[in-house]
């Protein structure tokens, strides 16, 4: 007996129903109907592995990949509007002139590997809410607003309220994330982005994104957002305050980085203990500030 060919599947999700949405309205209607039972399928780069491990077991999948209406980028005055289905890879080259586009591009290269960036979506990353996800950290840094649609209408959620804990957001089960609105950074804003992962392409153990203004004068509008330290992306508020009005020097950067390192009860896992992550926060914050001021 000669064995023949076969297309195999190695890891198998629990049974589920599948719906392909033809419009945002239809997707939202499905969510309204199935509630907790349903999950949106965007790029699938987080959801599908979780389903294959049977860590996620939605009874219904609502596939929003056909929705071109969620795949757009628009500059609207001072706001960059990003449709939920814009793929990570889109940001590899600056999508706007000025610091916002550059910051997104700096971060984009660190999101997984190219095949993941080709499939994975901006909205999916926010909705997934990994504490070490680049887009989540940047959304928080820029005080983004996240727009949703649901059977009862929709709402705008500030990033600061959106991320609640690991893999948990303010989204209700019947709510679809449709757009992220990023207030553009002022043109002369300086930016820095630093992260550390054990291998190229891995989720970062820790990352720091900074934005500040410091043209020939003291630091103003300092923002520091951190990923991989806490159960959600966080702003290092005390460090930001400490920097405000200070000269942009190694000394003040070091001091701010030290404050940032002490601001949180860091999390630990097999790749790095809480203490170690604090060490990383200190180093990465300092490096990001230095990077910001030197470019």
């Amino acid at each position: 007996m000669a064995p023949g060919y076969y297309t195999p599947a190695f890891m198998k999700p629990a049974p589920f129903d599948y719906h392909q949405a033809r419009s945002v309205a239809e997707a939202v209607a499905h969510l309204g109907e199935y509630g907790y039972e349903a999950k949106i399928l965007a790029g699938g780069q987080s959801l599908v592995p979780a389903m294959n491990f049977r860590l996620a077991r939605p009874a219904v999948l609502v596939d929003i990949n056909p929705l071109d209406e969620l795949d757009y980028l628009e500059e609207d005055g001072d706001t960059l509007r990003i449709g939920a289905m814009v793929r990570h890879v889109t940001f590899e080259r600056p999508v706007t002139e000025g610091p916002t586009g550059r910051l997104l591009a700096m971060a984009a290269h660190h999101v997984g590997h190219l095949p993941i960036r080709v499939r994975g979506t901006f909205g999916g990353s926010l909705a997934h809410a990994d504490p070490a996800a680049e887009w989540c950290v940047i959304a928080l840094l820029l005080d983004a607003e996240l727009a949703t649609r649901s059977p009862s209408g929709g709402r705008d959620i500030p990033a600061a309220d959106f991320f609640q804990t690991v893999f948990t957001t303010a989204l209700e089960p019947e709510e679809l994330l449709v757009e992220a609105r990023l207030p553009n950074l002022a043109p002369h804003t300086r930016i820095g982005f630093q992260q550390f992962s054990r291998r190229a392409g891995d989720f970062a153990l820790t990352m720091a994104a900074v934005a500040l203004e410091a043209d020939d004068g003291p630091v103003a509008n300092a923002r520091i957002a951190l990923g991989g330290v806490s159960d959600r992306p966080v702003r290092a508020g005390e460090a930001e305050q400490a920097l405000e009005g200070q000269p942009a020097t190694d000394e003040s950067f070091r001091a701010a980085a030290e404050i940032a390192a002490q601001e949180f009860d860091a999390i630990g896992d097999i790749h790095g203990s809480a203490d170690y992550r604090r060490d990383l926060v200190r180093a990465l914050t300092r490096r990001a500030l230095e990077q910001a001021i030197s470019t």
Binding site: G4, Y6, F10, K12, D279
Partner: protein
Amino acid sequence: MSYVGSSVKRIEDRPLLTGEARFAADLSLPDQLHMRVVRSPVAHGRLLEVDTSEARSMDGVEAVWTGDDVREVPPIDFRMAWVEGLERFRQSILAADHVRYVGEPVAIVLAEDPYLAEDAAELVFAGIDELDPVVDPMAAGPAAIETTVVEKAYGDLEGAFGDAPVVVEMELAVGRHSGVPMETRGALACYDPLRSVLEMFGAAKVPHHNRAAIASMLGLPLGAVVLREGHVGGGFGIRGELYPEDVLVCLAALRLGRPIRWVEDRREHMLAANHSRDQVHRIRAAVESDGRIRGVIDEFWVDQGAYLRTHQVTVTELTTSMLPGPYAWPAYRSRGHVMLSNKTPCGTYRAPGRYESTFVRERLIEVIAHRLSLDSSEVRRRNLVPPERMPFERGIAALGTEVTYDSGDYPGLLDRTLEYLDYEQLTADLARRRSDGERVGLGMGFFVEKSGLGPFDGVRVTVDEAGQVLVVTGVASIGQGVETVLAQVCADALGVGIESVRVRHGQTDDLAYGMGAFASRVTVMSGSATLIAARRVRRKAVDVAASVLEADPDDLTIDRGRVFVRGSPGGPAITLGEVARRLRPGLTAGEPGLTAEGWFTVDHMVYPYGIHAAVVRVDPDSGQVEVERLVVAYEVGKAVNPELVHGQIAGGAAQGIGGALLEDFAYDESGQPLAATFMDYLMPTVAEMPDVEVLLLEEAPSPANPLGVKGAGEGGITAVGAAVANAVAEALGRPEEVTRLPLGPERVRRIAAGVA
């Protein structure tokens, strides 16, 4: 023209590159059932009952079996046994009354499709009364089980240590990691009533041995079991050993009369396939003040996991016997404690026992050099076995053979390596970079490998009437290029073009005997057997041709499949195909067919040797180690195919970096594995790899086989851990504190900060 020695393109690559390859998961048979293994979720416990009723009642589920259903099947036996009386530590194919590691098979589900099988597996409930697990056998006190102690010794230790000017003592450890092939395991078994045989596809590494083991476990005659090797996506020592799943698919195929297919998923693989390494050494050296080592005493503990699998205590055996490496220490004793724990059982992994012992020995050398303020390469040189003492008898045995280094010029290799590195310049450059604030360092490790484990392997070479040559061998291919290498040897010996040679391997009904692919033995053993068989065929062909051409056989030669009088290629000739036609039964008085078998037997291994040198840079903020350079100087006697040797070395080096910096099967205190996916078990990617610089030497051909070859499968990995660790120690200016692999960034940062 000679194929041997040139980098002939791999002849096995076409199906691999065109997607036609057939790995275990590519196979299926009509009417097959799919097996899913239900595994223990806890590390240790009494198995009270396994409730299968819900799973069995699902539509499409054919059977669900637990340990009770397979009680007549004995545990999996040792393939290599070095110590008697350890049978009680063997693993059964399904847990009977205890579970002893997370991932241990407790039941199987056989269902119509693999999704269903997984759905049903979720409904099998194992009632387990949890017991305290042993996670660290060294810290577990009396709860830890010591299966046996392997001890080797020679020389006068008392004399060595009695009035030693310097004694250096260290504790050194290598973490738990293993070969993780790209292809997970898989098997497809069926009973073929036409031929009355049980056939299993998906065999690898040691098909002949596994055939015998399966036949004996299932009570079948040897002739009723056939194992088939397909394409294999990596072996590394762990793939192809006989595991519970292989026996279970065969058993189910017999019982149910339907083909049974099993494909492991990655998470299962991380829990169920052999782990390796995981050793802690306490080593002591008595040293003269000029760095010459008088004697070494080593005591070590191997965390073997929950059971002794097919390798029994092979890794411990190899560690004790190979620890002295290239050095002529006059006195030595090593004692290896083989400990059980509630973790995945261990087996051999590329350079088993040598990766660990080389790390231990070469760190020790470095610390001796530091204590005596000597250059470590000078300490090495002063202790190397001198070329005059080759062949060098160590005075101990490994794997049942006396350790006799067959040939070599160790100081010569050290000179060559230092010259290649431009040692003085390089160390000066690194010192300058360090004084500029960079944390960079150079580290080296000298090692002796072993290869070509016997006792035998055989090959049959046959030329058909079209002049096509078939080489059939009892060894296996795990992707390393066996077909190409054997074809090269055969084509040269026979006088044919390599394009007319095909090589078949890994089918147990092809040849009665076969040892398999491990211990860097295939080119040594099967290569030599191919040479012997091809020469016999050549002799036969020349004899026939001599009578046809009316020439003296001694005057004939064969080139590109034509036999003619040497020096007159344009004169009368006969092709090998024509010779084969004249050897049809009835036409010849002798044995029909242009065919011959060749068997190569040895009672000693051969010992290739080498040096690894690593240059690393440490990021002081994160502790991340970047390997800037990795140089592998390696003496192989003769490289049949230099490009393939390079490939072996580069691949090994990548795995070595994994073990040195990244890979770690960590467990929590309850025995739960913390690295059971590729998110947590970090293998190096191309981004973490430097270009591996290979200095391939062919200056000490082995006198122990007709090709003069020494194995090349493992030398790429052996000293990477040692070299990287030594380099990190230098980079951090912490000569003594680097004592444990892997050197993850947090550990390195702690060492740098002096809080290790």
